[in-house]
Symmetry: C2
Subunit: 379 residues, 2 copies
């Protein structure tokens, strides 16, 4: 007999589809940032520079909560660039990417509690919360993001501990929550006494999006999660949390249980921020991925595939195939195309939905992939 | 209301003493490897080399379970060098250091179970297990390590889920478990149906020590934990687990919850193993720390402080001060010396014990530190 988490953990369906995807020509499955856009030279130089400047210090054990040098750079520069307001009673805690942040938040808050989540949601990050909750309340999404009216109807009858949301460039739905809904979410959190986990890894490459939900929060009900995976590189495993003092303090202590955030990688990210890399890449990557997304949207429409909300940013578009998406998936793989059948992202429904990603595919591959998909669906 | 772990987590007493220690001249508190011995140039070169050789691949998301390149180097070279036998039904899982390994193991196995542990033990790593157990059975240590007779007496009346042990260069007790006791531990695990977590971070710098407990195991009851923190550098956060297929598979899956192990750092460690750095440093560091330990032992004896088991390896010596160690600690800090009052390492007793570390102090500082301690005790 093992723990509940030990019993219930299983291979992520996204991982499974990605493994199959590796074997095909056209990859519309993977959600990893485009390898062509990883700033290899800058990263290589940053490693050399931090070792030369700081010496052995960059290779000591990490302090729980994160290295002060990185916290300062985020506080001085990165938050400002992203339009994130940090209140005086809030602190930054460095984590090993957003996924680690979610695991720490889940570990801190949850012990068989009721939580609410967008339907669909990104199951991989959500898993840390799911495996520690007793029951999950799914809330519909539309083009303006999470349906706040539906949420309030549910809150009137169900007490929740927290709500998990991806406000920008939603994975897998590709939508952004509108500004007025963001305000409303904070009001609901106040009124019905729950916390909001705002998982916002795409903001650094999202272009013009509404302010973070946490900017509307005055009482510490929003825990903001960010990451350098999209704007720099996922292999560094650096992200952060902003939360009120009590929560950030406790989450720092919980980091003592895994001590997993590489010290030198924190210095490397601090260095890259200091050198102005983020400003530069933020616009460039928004433009780069935006162009690929436009190609996907145009191709789908040209092929008469119209059942989707056109994303304004990010990597993902959620398409209704009107057929079982696993059936379509296996046919697509035979033709050299992969995507992610989106059922696993849904708490309920979603059997005919497909997540298409533009992150690693070239423009030509996107066009060809849509053609393959359209041919399969036409039969 | 938060989770049990969220409620019970508190600042590590070792961290607290270390923070005070930073402000004094002579640091016999810190357990961090000597900064002078971190191979900065080799590490800097390895970062450059892996980026040049593999390109963007080293900066992708890490695969759950670890990068194949590192697993291969450990399997082909590192285990052999350390005298670790891996059975065919066992697998290596890469972690963000040994601490992360312990967190994953705790998360997998424990949900309010009874566990056994050496008294004293290293409270920081043990915390991941402690916070998930209902009750902790302390087992005495002597110069030959964990007292197996006492353990069996307890096993006759108490059912335990697992035993946590540090077999070599024990932290804080400085002892090694004898070979016959290692065999006996495996027999007991079989007979009384429990798992053994063998936390062995010091083996790479331990010189000649008995074979790992896991070498005597034939049925997958031992989970072996290792780390590159002492032999290379802690700031990379790379360690690993060896466990039977079922457990290693599940622990790989649990890594999907935090995805915290830096991809590029795994390639860097693989590169350093391949270049033969480990063989070279293994002997050199054993000699280096051994000389400092000898100075500590000789100084203590010269000053009439004899109540300790002389360590054969590692960083730590556990000294009985015969006075409340916190009282002595505060007086020592006033005189410019720090150590760790060892009470927090004990499940029971230990009020008069002090952990002295030779890892970062110079030979002169060790001699001076013992003189200060002896003066305080003589008063």
């Amino acid at each position: 007999m093992v723990s509940r988490i030990g019993k219930e953990i299983e291979i992520s369906p996204v991982e499974l589809a990605s493994q199959i995807a590796k074997k095909v020509k056209i990859n519309l499955a993977s959600g990893t940032p485009d390898p062509k856009k990883i700033p290899l030279n800058d990263i290589r130089e940053a490693y050399t520079e931090v070792i030369e400047e700081y010496g052995a210090k960059v290779l000591f054990y990490p302090g729980a909560g994160g290295q002060e040098e990185l916290i300062q750079e985020i506080d001085k520069k990165f938050l400002n660039l992203l339009g994130i307001t940090k209140r005086k009673d809030e602190k930054i805690v460095i984590t090993s990417g957003a996924q680690h942040a979610l695991e720490l938040i889940g570990k801190y808050f949850l012990e068989n509690d009721v939580i609410a989540v967008e339907n669909p949601t990104f199951i991989e990050t959500f898993n840390s919360l799911k495996l520690r909750s007793s029951s999950i309340v799914p809330i519909s999404l539309d083009y303006d993001g999470l349906n706040v009216d539906e949420l309030e109807d549910i809150l009137k009858i169900v007490k929740i501990k927290l709500l998990y949301t991806i406000p920008n460039c939603h994975n897998p739905a590709g939508v952004n929550i509108s500004e007025c809904r963001r305000k409303r979410l904070v009001e609901l959190a106040e009124k019905y006494d729950f916390y909001i986990i705002e998982d916002d890894p795409y903001r650094p490459i999202a272009g013009e999006v509404p302010p973070p939900i946490k900017n509307f929060d005055t009482s510490g009900r929003v825990i903001y999660v960010s990451s350098f995976s999209k704007i720099i590189a996922p292999g560094l495993r650096i992200g952060f949390i902003i939360a009120n003092e009590q929560i950030s303090e406790k989450i720092s202590l919980l980091e003592q249980l895994d001590f997993s955030t590489s010290t030198i990688n924190q210095y490397v990210v601090a260095r890259l921020i200091r050198k102005g890399m983020i400003e530069e890449r933020s616009k460039e990557l928004f433009r780069y991925y935006g162009e690929k997304m436009k190609i996907l949207i145009d191709s789908l429409r040209e092929n008469g595939l119209n059942e989707f909300d056109p994303p304004k940013c990010g990597f993902f578009l959620l398409l209704n195939l009107n057929k079982n998406s696993w059936d379509v998936f296996y046919k697509a793989v035979e033709k050299g195309l992969s995507f992610v059948p989106a059922k696993p992202f849904f708490i309920r429904g979603g059997e005919t939905m497909a997540r298409l990603s533009i992150s690693v595919a070239s423009p030509e591959q996107i066009v060809e992939g849509v053609k393959i998909l359209s041919d399969i669906l036409a039969r």
